[in-house]
Symmetry: C2
Subunit: 559 residues, 2 copies
């Protein structure tokens, strides 16, 4: 790194998502008039985001620098890295760069959203750098729970940035494609300005198991099972799917694929040669019904207890075509993602009710993580040996712990930065400055609406969800304020009215009391005041008799 | 057991809660005209029970047999065993039997609910049987995460029932009170008709650690900490609290107790001699502010991320008197209960933002379970050697696995029964029959209302929470169906109206279209049809433009 050339412009990196949260990964790399976007992921809604379908990053910073936005580079094909692409491309029709499999998954997604013609897709070959404006970018192969992931080396006029992508070390990966440690080391030798590295598993000591290690547990289960086997797994976990398909061949079971994303991903992976699977081994639904139990393997989605998934519908016995039967063994081969445990446990209980046996990661080693543990994170830090370090992909505590880890391997605390979404880190002649850069946040997608549900709307939903609502309708004569119709009081989600008819009757009496005041006060009280007063009285009343705070909406019409 | 005496009546056991779920523990033991109730616990609401405060068992079966209900026996003082007592006692003013500490906690609860005079409290001494009608009952000491727990031996004319309570084996309990294996064995030798045993941890292999084992980890943390230490723990976990208090003495830290239940439980336990703690070691709030950091220990509730707890308020920096500072170490010394993970992780992130270090069970051994693991469960089965076995306290999968475990240690499958709440098992002359006995379910407590929120009301709350609501008001002339006022369309929790004013405008136009039809149709269409038609049209419209399904409530007033 030559720090004396003062003609160079500052290099700016602005994370727009994925720092302080898991998911929603997106990062801006900016030099002069060029903005490169790395990843465009979604996040699945948290419990208090009522009614929200997905969450995407806030593109405001990109909008403010619209002309600069030149390209999108994707590290791998998980939803938390590609899920926001349709929303991004709709606004910014920029070219997309990714490896073969990743690109195929992106293509599928864009086709679904009818956006394929809005962009150009470029295949990234690891170890084959490509140029975007002032940047020379190279994909560096990493291992992860989806094939074809890469980290990125981004050569800029201010020095080289390394973005780890999501990675783990796996010395015996299923597809034989190891993390390209030599290439990370090559850049480390040359000098790396800054490393941005995945923090997801910084709380876990040691090393991840190899994907191959769990194969033995699977084989044992296949050996002992005489009934049908149903494996639920993320459709993107093609390594896992490959292992299971190998076992199906070994134990002479035919395979039925269930779930839309499972079918799609398996098709794409087979077309591109990422899955080794004999088409004759696939069972149709009709064959499935005829096969003896010990010849059946089903591969399905729904390992997170997703309400509409095939597995959930089977568990609750409401699937139109498939059902669980006594003697089935269901393997949930994924992590219980925090927030989903209750849903998953619920499915498991129902599967047991149907007479099945269920095996999951909490009782057997049938899952390994795709994210590096502490020792692997240290190795990345030591191989890349960056001047500056910014932990990414993690909640706040992960970022703090990753920063501490970096110090353990010798980085100076002054050179490690905890950034949050919207912060920028600017590199100029070997120095780094962190600032608050952009207003950024999360954008909610609800049905077809993007961004039209904000915190205010969610607050109302939460209020409505807590104690329901009470509607009051009253039509009165404008002149004399006499009742023409009502007061009618109806409630929803508030109380089963039959059990306590006195509640709404009491409410009516109160409204009539307020009306008397309204009639008496004349000009001292207008209709707005009257409605406010109704709300206030009812609020007090419901609090007193029920300790509830429903949403109260009085509608007074004067004619 | 003498199975030839035909003068004996059948003995019936009916679980009313705790089978097929964790929490809500309650069981009826019935012989002739006597019903003995074992435990009366609550459950905290699951995510989809919107706005519900707590859940209690359905007492219908007791109501139908009101005259028979003679006494309540409590195994230990956890909320899932005592939390429904006020609701039970309000309806059934029966005497309560429990050990000293348990009884003191029950007394406190009844006093709060102003129900103390409605019942009589009897102290149970382990190994001192007492009689209730045809039953002779003996408390058998067990270890658990609260002191003074017992299992029960219930001698009946049909034989002896053993109820394990919640138990674990702990060879080195903090209070020196071991599980009374000899006494369980004594009954086992004499012959036990049926064992009802805790299934909570049947998925966990081996043995639980002793409570004392985690003391070393705690000591290590105390040794290394130079800042303040804040331990968050269940207020009922007096063993844990005792260990921490011993360490406070050892490391010369003064103790500040925070959180209502913490203060109450510590007071009760000290009064009864269940906590060894020098009153001079307690710090007042004023002292707390003055003490040097390395002299401070805070014991607080909120280890589950409860929104109103002291710890949560400190984490979000909204506590009026206490705050977190750089260098604090917070120890969350309890399990992450499924369903609470997101809330807990959220707190942890905020604590890190405040500059604190957080230690929890997922990074260090600072928690042990109070429920027996598989080897301990086997030991209970082997010592008690029952003729019949019924797994209790567990979700469905736990019950299935516990049943299988019982078969592993030699019980015959025909003698192991999976019961669900409301099923009965009847013993008559050595035989056992399982039947569906009672309609039972869960009763929701919301504020002051008990049972007035049912599934129907919850469904409305869920609907309202998903996409909010849209209200339509229209006043028309009865005779000519001309508009006198409106249509007005307002929404809550549906959409931020400013972002898409065309949505509600579009809705208004649609309503006017429907009105035209209403005006044209005359008697063919009444006002009810009109409102239905408005709802139908709007539903279709919102689905089309936004893919949302708000709650639509049209109010048409004809005057």
């Amino acid at each position: 790194m030559n720090s004396t050339d003062t003609s160079r412009l500052p290099l700016k990196v602005v994370p727009l998502g994925g720092l302080g949260e898991i998911g929603l990964n997106m990062m801006v790399v900016e030099y002069g008039d060029t903005i490169l976007v790395v990843d465009a992921g979604l996040m699945f809604p948290e419990e208090d985001m009522l009614g929200i379908d997905i969450v995407i990053p806030d593109f405001t910073y990109l909008r403010e620098n619209r002309d600069k936005v030149k390209a999108l580079v994707i590290t791998h094909g998980h939803e938390d890295h590609i899920g926001a692409i349709p929303f991004l491309i709709r606004e910014f029709p920029i070219p997309i760069y990714a490896t073969r499999l990743t690109l195929a998954l992106v293509e599928e997604k864009l086709r679904e959203h009818k956006l394929l013609e809005r962009t150009v897709l470029h295949t990234v070959q690891p170890r084959h750098p490509f140029r975007i404006g002032p940047f020379e970018i190279e994909g560096i192969r990493v291992c992860h729970s989806i094939p074809d992931g890469v980290g990125l080396a981004i050569r800029t006029p201010q020095g080289v940035l390394i973005h780890s992508g999501d990675f783990k070390l796996d010395q015996t990966p299923i597809d034989g494609r190891r993390l390209d440690l030599a290439r990370f080391g090559h850049y480390g030798e040359q000098g790396v300005l800054a490393l941005f590295s995945d923090s997801t598993n910084v709380e876990r000591e040691g090393y991840t198991l190899s994907e191959r290690d769990i194969g033995q547990t699977f084989r044992q289960i296949f050996r002992e099972c005489s009934g049908r086997i149903i494996v639920a797994v993320f459709a993107s976990n093609l390594h896992r799917i490959q292992q299971v398909l190998h076992l199906a061949r070994e134990f002479d079971r035919k395979v039925f694929f269930s779930g839309k994303s499972m079918v799609t991903n398996v098709r794409i992976a087979r077309e591109l040669g990422y899955l080794d699977f004999d088409p004759d081994s696939e069972a149709t639904l009709a064959e499935l019904q005829r096969l003896e139990d010990h010849r059946v393997l089903m591969l399905t989605t729904g390992s997170q207890g997703e309400p509409m998934s095939a597995l959930t519908r089977m568990a609750f016995n409401v699937h139109r075509k498939l059902s669980i039967k006594e003697g089935d063994t269901i393997i949930l081969s994924s992590k219980f993602i925090p927030g989903n445990e209750r849903a998953i446990q619920n499915i498991i209980n129902h599967l047991y009710r149907q007479g099945a046996e269920v095996i999951h990661e909490q009782v057997k080693d049938i899952h390994v993580s795709g994210h590096a543990y502490r020792e692997e994170l240290k190795m990345m830090l030591n191989v890349v040996r960056p001047t500056y370090f910014v932990p990414i992909h993690g909640e706040y505590r992960h970022l703090v712990k990753h920063k501490k880890l970096a110090q353990q391997v010798g980085l100076s605390p002054q050179n490690c930065f905890i950034l949050e979404n919207g912060d920028s880190i600017t590199f100029l002649n070997g120095r780094a400055i962190v600032e608050k850069q952009a207003e950024t946040g999360r954008v909610f997608v609800d049905g077809k609406g993007v961004g039209d549900v904000c915190d205010l709307v969610l607050r109302d939903r939460r209020h409505l969800s807590e104690d329901g609502m009470v509607l009051v309708t009253l039509v009165i004569n404008k002149e004399h304020r006499e009742v023409l119709n009502g007061p009618d009081v109806v409630s929803r989600g508030f109380i089963l009215e039959e059990t306590k008819p006195e509640i709404l009757d009491g409410a009516k009496c109160l409204i009539l009391d307020v009306l008397e005041r309204y009639q008496a006060e004349g000009e001292m009280m207008d209709c707005g005041d009257f409605q406010l007063e109704i709300r206030r009285e009812l609020k007090r009343f419901f609090q007193k008799v029920l300790e509830r705070r429903p949403f109260i909406y009085p509608i007074v019409v004067e004619i």
